[in-house]
Symmetry: C2
Subunit: 447 residues, 2 copies
């Protein structure tokens, strides 16, 4: 246990709530602030992508004993269901028994706040933080940016306030603060596949459904109530774009042509399409993440990534795991805790940002490509035979807690090997032969 | 002439003042705001790098008839004087008659404000702009960020307020605004070489002086009064760093060892070193640069670069040249003027950012490298013989007004050729022979 401090966590999202539980466990007084109303008291829908909890997320939850409470609201998905225009393919995510878990963001957030309150954290909703005095850990709170502000002094402030963090905003105005935000020319929109009348799922419940179409794609993840939360990713402008679909007729014709098997399961397609907002996708990087022993950023506030690897929440939760490791190691020396935390996490945050950016291409284009599916088969066959020699990239990211930097580097190396293997003569017929196996073994030796 | 508008220019620096002259010429009412006092009334020194005006800068000045007034305060530099620890080399910048021009920033800024006032622009100093309403071109002005603000409505606002622009700051808070700021782990400090008692220069007046030492370097540019403004570029931390030089003795020992021939010409070395601030170096990129027909960023406010190519001011002035071209083309259609301006300039701003970043290595390391000097000699010999086939990168950037993007791309191609040429057997002895000439001709054909 550490010397008890008075700590503010700004942001009551997933990372803020879980961090509050960890800090309570260490004996601190914890106040969590959020500019929005209590998510448990409002209708939260229409603008989110379902979460895919994987190894790193579970590790952080289990580390403070709340994993099982979350497992109750999670649905395992052990494979991709790839909806081509004329057929349906399946592709396992990992080995037998390995799954990622679909969870609705709203449901999980409500649960996490309950758990944090039970642990003793105090929540203050509809409290707008406009500024922070970095060297004093003082929050400036008020109704409007230009109106009266109240000051609240803490021993330490965590900024868990997401990609558009106000806490980071203040840090950004210091000299030597590196920062970037880059938006994709693509947005996303939530659509809904309702449950059957008997509350069963209209599509395979234990699959991550993808309709890969190159420049755009549709995905669907299951919910507990039998529904699926769908997300359409598409460019803002151009031939197949949000801008090009301006009325009911166009939307329906677009889906009939490009996602024919989705039509019967999305009954309120046009309503969803025009009622739900089109959201943006941003990659945000910055450094440093901390200020002395007073301020630390965590989660999306210091590394917002695009959602194509399903690792945003997992990476944010892993920040907490690493922070907690540093607390175990350095105790009350918060300056060292913070500096070791940011030094450890920054390269990994950059690596998962890169992997996530690249993965749009894999999801939207490669999953529809025969050559890519062949590559995955070869990798799987080899990995089954030599599990010590080949862990596929997806598994390194999703089913392990080894650093993201390692996954990125080894993944790139494996890719150079697979490119050479795919150039082998008649690879389509010999892919499962000892010739290919030996070729891979030989190429691995060159590392 | 356009329909007269009421236009605010935020920032009375070099770009803001020159832009004001252009806008007055078009018949607009022009108000220039600056948060600082009038530079003509204060002592401005100790924290700047002398400017190197080159082709793009002169073109913008001559375009509005003020080039000759500026030539009066400029000193031509036709070569690099490269101070190695034990000898002095010279290297011409271009062809006979081609020079870059040393100008003190303070002197030029004062002159530009005089010229803009003469053209009819009105200046408002010590006026702090805290915010701008983008869709109404309204400035919010006040003593402090949290105090009372006054509103000033314009037809159009230009943000010429530098790398830490408040106008951009507001644009940054919009969705889909891409932004990055990256600081080098290196800073700079101004030092001074005073004039001789008879007001002559202590070093060759028409040279850009460099002391290249790898990780750090010293430069010196001439002033009209016989002095030189020196700039020391060095890492903040590490073995040879600002942090490592903490007292008078250390500074003097460092200079004696590493810049021996500078000792006798910098009499107040330690005073300058400890009195002058250590400044940071940032690369800032963003997009978009404009908002509808109301707001446009220009100069460092939308593309701050590191100073190693001497192109910061030149690129900012070229923004004005391009903006003016668009005005000639599209008249009162400011929406199109702005959008064509940003589309034309953005890739070029990115290209000069990249070239400037790379050029630290050229200045600090390569100028001390025999192989690099040989490469320059080969390029020069070939270029003299085939001026239509080979314009060196430095000349493309400095002595032409062709796009920076083109300079970057062709420069990279030329580099691949020179790498191959430098690998030729006995290149040190045959560099001026027809064998080498033919090799280059042959490699150029492969383009």
């Amino acid at each position: 246990m550490q010397t008890p401090l008075k700590i503010a966590v700004v942001g009551s999202g997933l990372v803020g709530s879980l961090l509050a539980i960890y800090l309570k466990k260490e004996g601190h007084e914890v106040h969590v602030y959020d500019r929005s109303p209590d998510i448990r008291k409002i209708n939260f829908s229409g603008r989110s992508i379902n979460l895919a909890m994987s190894n790193r997320g579970w590790k952080a939850l289990d580390g403070v004993g709340v994993g099982d409470a979350v497992r109750e609201i999670a649905i395992p998905m052990d494979k991709r269901a790839i909806h081509l225009v004329d057929k349906l393919n399946f592709q396992d995510y990992g080995q037998e028994g390995e799954s990622i878990y679909s969870i609705s963001r709203g449901t999980l957030n409500r649960k996490m706040i309950d758990l944090a309150e039970n642990a003793g954290a105090e929540f203050f909703f509809e409290q707008k933080i406009w500024d922070v005095t970095l060297n004093e850990a003082t929050l400036h709170i008020g109704e409007t940016e230009r109106g009266e502000w109240e000051e609240k002094k803490y021993d330490m402030v965590f900024g868990a306030d997401g990609a558009f963090s106000r806490i980071r905003h203040r840090m950004q105005r210091q000299s030597m603060f590196n920062y970037s935000q880059e938006f994709l020319n693509m947005g996303y929109k939530e659509l809904n596949i309702p449950a059957n009348p008997d509350a069963t799922h209209k599509l395979d419940k234990n699959s991550f459904h993808i309709w890969p179409r190159g420049e755009y794609m549709l995905i669907a993840l299951p919910n507990l109530d039998g529904s699926f939360t769908c997300t359409l990713f598409m460019p803002f402008e151009g031939e197949n774009s949000f801008d090009s679909l301006t009325d009911r007729k166009q939307v329906e014709a677009f889906f009939e042509k490009n996602f024919p098997d989705s039509i019967e399961v999305i009954p309120k397609l046009a309503e969803d399409f025009f009622n739900n907002p089109t959201s943006t996708l941003v990659t945000m990087k910055c450094f440093p993440w901390t200020y002395s022993d007073k301020i630390a950023l965590i989660g999306d506030a210091c590394h917002a990534i695009v959602p194509f690897y399903g690792q945003g929440m997992n990476a944010g939760f892993e920040d907490i795991t690493v922070l907690y490791e540093m607390i175990q190691k350095y105790g009350n020396d918060w300056k060292t805790v913070f500096s070791e935390y940011e030094i450890s996490r920054k390269p990994n945050a950059d690596a998962i940002a890169e992997l996530s950016y690249r993965n749009f291409m894999e999801m939207s284009t490669k999953t529809a490509d025969e050559k890519f599916l062949l590559q995955k088969k070869i990798e799987k066959a080899f990995s089954d035979k030599h599990p010590d020699k080949w862990i596929p990239l997806y598994s390194r990211v999703t089913f392990s807690d080894r650093p993201y930097t390692e996954a990125l580097a080894i993944g790139d190396f494996q890719n150079t090997i697979m490119e050479e293997v795919l150039r082998m003569k008649n690879i389509e017929t010999i892919w499962d032969s000892p010739v290919v196996e030996n070729k891979i073994l030989e190429l691995l030796q060159k590392a």
